[in-house]
């Protein structure tokens, strides 16, 4: 017999409800797949929601060309293994202008290589809803977001005019030009994501597990060198260190942590006893006060 309900069972049911509700109401949804642990859980829940069907939407990856090589390999294998359509979109114009995370401020880089191409891809394909793995526990402005987060034409988020969202009645009726971001993991915490990965036995990108990797320390942050595009400053010598990532983004903008946790059990144990929040490792969020809120208003996830 099946035994409901631990808190993970409750969260799982809720996420499945959200997926089905969105698929029933929107014309053309897409799942924004960013390869990280949250996307892994998101995709697993999407498969559960529509089993025995395949999820009735493709995956979309916004490729900045600065993701870790392991991430790209994992992305392609995942799409292949599950037989899902994968759309990869890069802002070519940004590449031609030479916008990169090393020479440009994080806010400029994120706008040109992440926010703009996301809007381009959504518009080009005419997606009216996009699933994302964002969680309310990640950051202050995320904590305010609805499960169905409406965006006005131009994908702008207006935190002052969010629709009321009552009970589990998710109203997906769109106004003219509106689109929606859908967040099935809204009520999950980082700890839940790892507990669930362990419980369900999910594969994640190997970078989440500790291994000896070439690192440098810059501005107090531990960076892993994924290729030779990051020019070393005087005095910097790559050193092999036992590190892993709590969060994955573009490699020059994502800091690693020293860790011995090389399997799922020890990663879960480490996560449950962590003393700092995960976005510590995301350099773009520290760019300026309210950075995430501003990015979101401009159309970032």
């Amino acid at each position: 017999m099946t035994a409901p309900f631990s808190h993970l069972d409750v969260l799982e049911s809720e996420a499945i409800h959200i997926f089905r509700e969105a698929a029933a109401q929107f014309r053309k949804p897409v799942l924004l797949y960013s390869i990280g642990k949250d996307s892994t859980v998101l995709l697993h829940l999407a498969r559960k929601a529509f089993f025995p069907q395949k999820p009735p939407f493709p995956l979309l990856h916004i490729d900045t060309t600065w993701k870790f090589k392991d991430m790209i390999a994992f992305r392609d294998k995942t799409a292949r293994d599950f037989g899902l359509d994968l759309i990869v979109h890069t802002n070519r114009e940004g590449i031609e202008r030479g916008i990169n995370p090393i020479d440009y401020a994080p806010s400029v880089y994120t706008d040109v290589m992440k926010t703009q191409p996301l809007k381009q891809a959504l518009d080009q394909h005419g997606f009216d809803a996009a699933f994302g793995g964002a969680r309310r526990d990640e950051e202050g402005s995320r904590a305010k977001e609805r499960v169905f987060s409406f965006r006005s034409p131009g994908h702008r988020w207006d935190p002052r005019r969010q629709r009321p969202e009552m009970w589990n009645l998710l109203n997906g009726r769109l106004g003219v030009g509106e689109t929606v971001r859908v967040f099935p993991l809204s009520n999950w915490t980082e700890r839940d994501v790892w507990r669930y990965i362990a419980r369900e036995g999910l594969d994640v990108v190997p970078l989440y597990y500790a291994a000896r990797r070439p690192t440098i320390t810059r501005n107090g942050q531990l960076l892993v060198l994924d290729d030779d595009r990051l020019p070393l400053q005087p005095g910097e010598t790559p050193q092999m260190k036992m590190v892993r990532f709590r969060t994955l983004g573009c490699w020059p903008l994502t800091a690693a942590v020293l860790s011995q946790a090389s399997d799922i059990e020890s990663v879960v144990a480490e996560t449950l006893s962590a003393r700092t929040s995960e976005r510590q490792g995301r350099l773009i969020d520290h760019d300026q006060t309210g950075a995430m809120e501003r990015k979101k208003q401009e159309g970032y996830f």
């Binding site: 099946t2 035994a3 409901p4 309900f5 631990s6 808190h7 993970l8 069972d9 409750v10 799982e12 049911s13 499945i16 409800h17 089905r20 509700e21 698929a23 029933a24 498969r47 559960k48 929601a49 529509f50 089993f51 025995p52 069907q53 526990d137 202050g140 402005s141 995320r142 904590a143 305010k144 935190p159 002052r160 969010q162 629709r163 009321p164 969202e165 009552m166 009970w167 009645l169 109203n171 009726r173 769109l174 106004g175 509106e178 809204s186 009520n187 915490t189 790892w194 507990r195 362990a198 879960v268 144990a269 006893s273 003393r275 700092t276 929040s277 510590q280 006060t289 309210g290 809120e293």
Partner: protein, 490 residues
Amino acid sequence: MTALSAIRQPQAVPEPAQELNGILHLLTCGSVDDGKSTLIGRLLWDASDLYDDQRETLKKSGRTAGGTAHPDFSLLVDGLVAEREQGITIDIAWRYFDTDTRRFVIIDSPGHEQYTRNMASGASHADVAIMLVDARHGVKRQTRRHAGILDIVGVKRVILAVNKMDLVDWSQEKFRAIEADFRELTLRFGFRDAIAIPVSAVGGDNVARRSEHMPWYTGPHLLEHLERLPARDITPAGPFRLPVQFVLRDGLDFRGLARTVSSGRVCVGDRVMDALSGKSAHVLRIATMGRDLEFAQQGQAVALQLDTDIDVARGAVLSCPQTQPAVASHIEGRLVWLWETPFDPRAGYLLRTATDLAPISSIKIKSLLDLETLAAKPAQGASVNDIALVGITLGRPVAVDAFAALPGTGAFLIVDATTGASVAGGGVSSAANGSAADAASTFRLTREMLEKGICRDLGSGENDRHEFRRRANEAALLLRAAGVDVKLEL
């Protein structure tokens, strides 16, 4: 230990991955400046697993709570730039923390009257509500409004936190007077559990530890009380309901009616019925990824495969044949108006139930709740933040239950047909079986008319039937907007 956790145990989870026994959703509400954000911040600071960098950020902010040496705890909650700048909470914020056995979800709602709709939205997700009042001012109009909204959205447990006791010299007399007002207020509504606790959020008195300043108070402190409350009620009470959300297909053989069971339970072999069409079939299979189930109960997301294809779609509510929901084209209900645009009798509205969306022919506002007297006063209109008793007549019948008995199939939204906005939310108080008497002026839009005209291109497949219904709804809306009373007969 609850019975459910006892059931859970044989499924050995690795030690650190331990799953928590349940989730308690906790709403905080009050007027502006009652100190809600500070109270939550304090609770997080004292009782939760806050990360070190979050604590550091707060200390480094340099802001202190009004006139004290304590950090400004409200910064832990107010996430939007505008909120920090103005020092007010605009929208609900969600925060999460765990104790050893339980997940707490804190839903912090705005006190500002103009954002009451955000409070209503947050309250609908809560198992328990903390209502804050300032010890200097006691129970106010906004407190009564909040109590009314909590009652409408189905919150059964409330706590009155009488805050800023430090500013009234920890006066027992003051507290008892406010407690008496609160008792009177709670008696008017259907709360199952109500308690008043004197606190000082800034100092942490009676938040997560007993206050030294109020020896006269012998009840539990806030966290103590919260840990004792039962988590969300998930025992499969009530009759079986599964409002069909999505139809899953796999080849020719599998057609699964998917959704989370909203109440009761269902077993393989049970006969289930679609009240709208009156058709029934037996449950052949309860599918989830990984394995099929023998039974499914309230809260489980499943897909039911039936032994005969009875042609049900999104909007149908599956039940046992003996205990069916009402099939009604007229319902009586209570609602809170959520949108800035007031109710307009000429506008087009839709009724959203668990999974159905039906055109509304008319809404009659019968009365509004007077927040001073808590009595119903006759009214014709409703505008933002009003609590109203209404009668709703629909263009076609929907399957619903009384909200008090089955909130999962008794809650509804009123949706603006043009903008799509959720303009009101409420619960069904009574739903008559059968349709209301047709007025002579009512135009009957029948299946035949549609088949010959705007739905001529549609076949009998699943998608086409869905599209048929969509076009029928839209046609009814357009006619309604042109001033024609429409009754859909499909």
